[in-house]
Symmetry: C2
DNA sequence: CTGGATGCAAACTCTTTGCACGGAG
DNA sequence: CTCCGTGCAAAGAGTTTGCATCCAG
């Protein structure tokens, strides 16, 4: 469900109000491949003529996250990024110089590792967080 | 080099001053398996009778990190954790309920995945960050 | 109308910086 | 005696909360 119209339709059907901010925010997320910060979302909305207070930004993001349409991504730089939750779990390669982000799918992800770790540690593994950092083609 | 005495010896040899804070901080790190936050380090030092201002905490951590003895660990909760840099790269399994942390080594880590990603994306991969989250034996 | 959505200001948490004082070598 | 190390206060950045107002349905 990477389509703004579909997401908005589901939200509307579930009784959520269709506000300017909500519509524009979903459109921005749907049009953005890379994870963005709350403030970047605000800038993107402003560019579309929708000026939004930062409080509202965080609240709208929390709302969309609560509905399961948006998920948190953490690059370890103390700023939380968000992106549309994809059906297929994927990871990110981040350029440490220009911050460009590319999505990658792992052939078999970490399922086998997770199983091994679960056995070894007696943990039930719920999820993992994996990001790669390096230099993109134009930065090296 | 997981031994406080060795680390302190190297620091001393390189001309760094041996202060109460420095000695105690290295000892705390050496005695702690799990990554700790700056404030947790402060609490641990206080327990040893060494009261340290938070500014000094951050500066001492930055100092040790700069010397290569400590590295940043990020669990994605907007708090930076630190641990002694181990010779062998390892990952963490974090209990989402009680915050217990267990170290794990991956059999072959992610070398093959990194190679595949480098080819696919034209990035030069420098490092990755990988943490597992789940429930520990006593919490499930 | 009514409750969810929004804005503004202020609070909060973690972290960093400026400046003056203190202590290790 | 010299600098590195330290403390205190204040500033920053990102995020959250309280409260009054606004607007979609």
């Amino acid at each position: 469900m990477k389509n703004a119209k579909d997401i908005l339709a589901v939200l509307k059907a579930s009784g959520s109000k269709m506000t300017r901010v909500r519509i524009a925010a979903v459109e921005v997320f749907a049009g953005n491949a890379a994870p963005i910060t709350a403030l970047q979302l605000g800038a993107a909305l402003a560019r579309r003529g929708v000026d939004v207070n930062k409080t509202t930004l965080y609240r709208e993001i929390a709302f969309l996250a609560g509905k399961g349409f948006v998920e948190e991504i953490d690059f370890g730089d103390r700023v939380t990024r968000y992106e549309l939750k994809d059906a297929g779990h994927h990871h990110h390669v981040v350029c440490v110089r220009c911050d460009r982000v590319v999505d990658v799918d792992l052939d078999r992800d970490l399922d086998s590792q997770e199983k091994a770790i679960a056995q070894k540690t007696k943990f039930t593994i719920l999820r993992h967080s994996l990001e790669f950092f390096g230099l993109c083609a134009s930065c090296k």
